[in-house]
Symmetry: C2
Subunit: 498 residues, 2 copies
């Protein structure tokens, strides 16, 4: 049963703010059925819910805050690279797709069309990506070498009419992303941009989302429709599946020629420029949830979490006011971390602990009457659950320290899993046993489409992830493809994938 | 000829980065033909251009920076009101529109439909506004009085299949906006929110965009399809036309009942909540351009302008390096104002002055060899063109001062025009002469649809703008409608409009 269909049955129950504590709990363990665990968690932690139109979802406030953290971080990076934001139309005329043949062939199956007729009579598609509509503008904007580089980006919604089973944040008919598009005078500059932005995506994952990724080039079979080369960041998840979490493309000169983009060089001659594009999407939210969450619920990396602390006062009638006053004082003292003070009377402290753990708040501070005299609080980190007593006067120092330690601990755990999952093998049998053990298998590979198709068929789903950049991606002299035995052209990672 | 059709002819010319200085100039004066002046300015100042799909436009980097300034300002306000951002799907099932009868009737003519069939077989519309799809979610999110108020917002694209002539930023088939939607337990809270957000829109226009607006209630004829009451901010433009620049609606309980949203009150009874919504769009960009621009081009209010200063060095061979060094020093000194240092050799200083004036940069600093010895610069404000000599050491003080003075001067000019345009009249003849003189006519009005239709017909376009909030909107006892003579129910502004 797909994620979608399951939800139709459970929608009312899962999406409710019911006060039945059991509804918070997950009915499966992450290690047993990560797919089901993920679906339950995203719904019950109120990150998203299924929309009435099939294959679409609503991003709820808790989910959107994660996207805002990603946007805030990456929009700054974009501007540091002198890239300007823009907005291009959702509607793209059919003839625009047809101008670049590979692009047309690659995207046609998943286009959504507008039923209303444009006055010119041409069919309009909803953008599955914006190369075509942007290149039309570039043909007017680019005239001279002085207009280059032209570097623009847009944050927008994207429509791809998925026919496969959809999953919240991971695969859907509409999602949010950013797409950067740069036009350069030379191939060198274009290549540099493609790799620079790939590196920025890697740093985003490491520094904000607290997980490592593999950066490298996609195979011919897996590259973007219309690209010369596609590079990706690939995260490796706890269930032994990889997920493509961002891409950066060298689009070469194909779109430029198709849309008649050219410039007068300093040499007085007409030249065709080079074109890059790079994007990350709301898929990163799902990737992060799967990477760090546990059987108690969501674990938000500290730099992503908007509310980094929850304060739970332990309230009794006699000491109520004194405890609440102190809790409020602590809240004000730690205001920069946007603490939540949970002073609800209708639920117990234990209930609150469970609820905020489920929602992934990084730090919890408990304060009761006995703590008042001691001038201390109980301090609990979401990732390891360890309890410490901390003096109230030390909190301003301890909180940022512990947030940083938690970020590092989450990253280290994910990094350890990635490192331990990589198996380097040289033949088919070793490949199959590593693949069956859900490893990330590193092999010498011929790089050919046909060979990759065979591997996918035989394994029931293994796909190439990417070829590491630089020397790591180069096979030793004389190395053969682990599958077909032809000369290897690259070193590649294979695994299951989302 | 519509804006659209004109552009098809001139697209290549107007959108180009041509170095022919004449292409910068506007061929009409603002006072002679503001409509044509506006179209030329938006294209030539590179704020936007017409898209290949009819009635749509591309927001270019210079235009998008204005939207970013609006977003940055208002997103902070939204969060101060404890409103959370979210994202709801672009696709809305047809049956959802039909649930609220007025809403369906009001929006049906301008819906765009997806040609692809949803698996359920139902037609999907592209969102013209999100009440329907949000209320579906609210019916799951709202259960108890503890879930209220529920306050959410989204920044997104909106599709309305306009059949009238479209205009860049003002009327188009796709535009960007924010839509806030709040659900309250009581009518009082709901009303308060509607008026609070209207006030925030007014402050946004005054404090960021530097123009005043009229705030008040729309007539029955002009209110939102499905609303109990619609309030608007109306700007009054130099050509004597008003423009609705933002709206805030009390949606009452209509959508709540239609979508079965209810809550269990503290009294243990089931209640229907109240619902508000409020929005501003990229239309504000066009409003601001028309309000402040002049025959030399764009005038960006200082708080909107990202690059608040341009530095133009006067370069001669012998003193080139010294002047450039000083210009660079000034640039660094004023870094917080994002100065542009225009050190191009291929155009003259005079060309640069024209170009940056055209693009609306608030302040210009000119520095030449003679200024070096005097330790001064020539300092020019975009709005009044006055030149002053300013000591370099005083710049850090003078720049913010002058930016504030310029903001105030722009606001004062717009306020004076608004004040001078208001004519209070009591009979039809006085109304007609004020209307023909392109005034904003203030009248006692019966408020009836039929009477408003008659007024529109007789004048060839006069529409009611809004009824001032509070006492100002209440007619004196015994006052009669200026048109039909029936008892007046309100004081209303009438004028031409966009």
């Amino acid at each position: 049963m797909t994620d979608e269909n399951k939800n139709k049955k459970n929608n009312k129950k899962n999406n409710s703010n019911s006060e039945d504590q059991n509804s918070l709990g997950l009915t499966v363990k992450k290690s047993e059925d990560m797919s089901e665990w993920y679906s339950q968690l995203v719904l019950k932690a109120e990150l998203a819910e299924h929309a009435p139109s099939k294959g679409c979802y609503v991003i709820r406030p808790r989910g959107y805050k994660i996207w805002e953290a990603i946007q805030k971080y990456f929009d700054k990076i974009i501007k540091q690279h002198n890239v300007d934001n823009t907005y291009f139309p959702l509607f793209i005329p059919e003839s625009f797709f047809q101008k670049e043949a590979d692009h047309f062939e690659g995207f046609t199956p998943e286009l959504a069309w507008v039923a209303n007729k444009d006055e010119g009579g041409e069919r309009l598609a909803l953008r599955p990506t914006s190369e075509a509509v942007m290149c039309d503008s570039f043909s007017r904007w680019v005239r001279s070498w002085r207009d280059l580089p032209l570097k623009i980006n847009q944050w927008c919604n994207i429509v791809r009419w998925e026919t496969k089973a959809t999953r919240l944040f991971l695969r859907s008919r509409e999602f949010l992303w950013q797409e950067g598009h740069c036009v350069y005078a030379t191939e060198e500059e274009c290549n540099l941009d493609v790799l620079d932005m790939l590196e920025e995506y890697k740093i985003l994952c490491e520094e904000l989302l607290a997980f490592p990724v593999l950066t490298g080039r996609k195979s011919e079979k897996e590259k973007f429709a219309g690209a010369l080369a596609t590079y990706s960041i690939e995260a490796f998840l706890p269930d032994g599946k990889a997920i493509q979490a961002g891409t950066s493309h060298n689009l070469g000169q194909g779109f430029m020629k198709a849309f008649d983009v050219s410039f007068l060089g300093q040499d007085g001659q007409k030249h065709t420029p080079w074109h890059s594009s790079w994007g990350i999407s709301t898929r990163l939210i799902g990737t992060m949830v799967m990477m760090h969450g546990d059987d108690k619920g969501l674990v938000l990396p500290p730099r992503v979490a908007f509310n980094k602390i929850v304060i739970v006062p332990i309230l009794f009638d006699k000491t109520r006011e004194a405890v609440l006053n102190k809790a409020d004082e602590i809240k004000n003292m730690l205001a920069e971390f946007h603490p939540i003070l949970d002073d609800r009377d209708e639920v117990t402290p234990g209930w609150k602990y469970n609820e905020w753990e489920f929602k992934g708040v990084p730090l919890r501070i408990e304060i009761g009457p006995r703590d008042l005299d001691a001038g201390q609080v109980v301090f609990v980190r979401r990732d390891n659950g360890e309890k410490q007593f901390i003096k109230i006067e030390d909190l301003k120092e301890v909180v940022p320290e512990q947030l940083e330690l938690m970020h590092q601990a989450l990253f280290d755990k994910a990094k350890l899993h990635l490192d331990e999952s990589i198996f380097e093998v040289n033949d088919w049998d070793a490949f199959m046993s590593a693949y069956e053990a859900k490893k990330l298998v590193k092999v010498n590979f011929c790089g050919e489409d046909e060979c990759e198709d065979w591997i996918k068929d035989k394994t029931g789903g293994a796909s190439s992830r990417n070829v590491p950049n630089g020397d790591e991606g180069m096979p030793a002299e004389g190395a053969k493809c682990f599958h077909c035995g032809k000369p290897a052209t690259c070193v590649t990672f294979f695994s299951r994938s989302y």
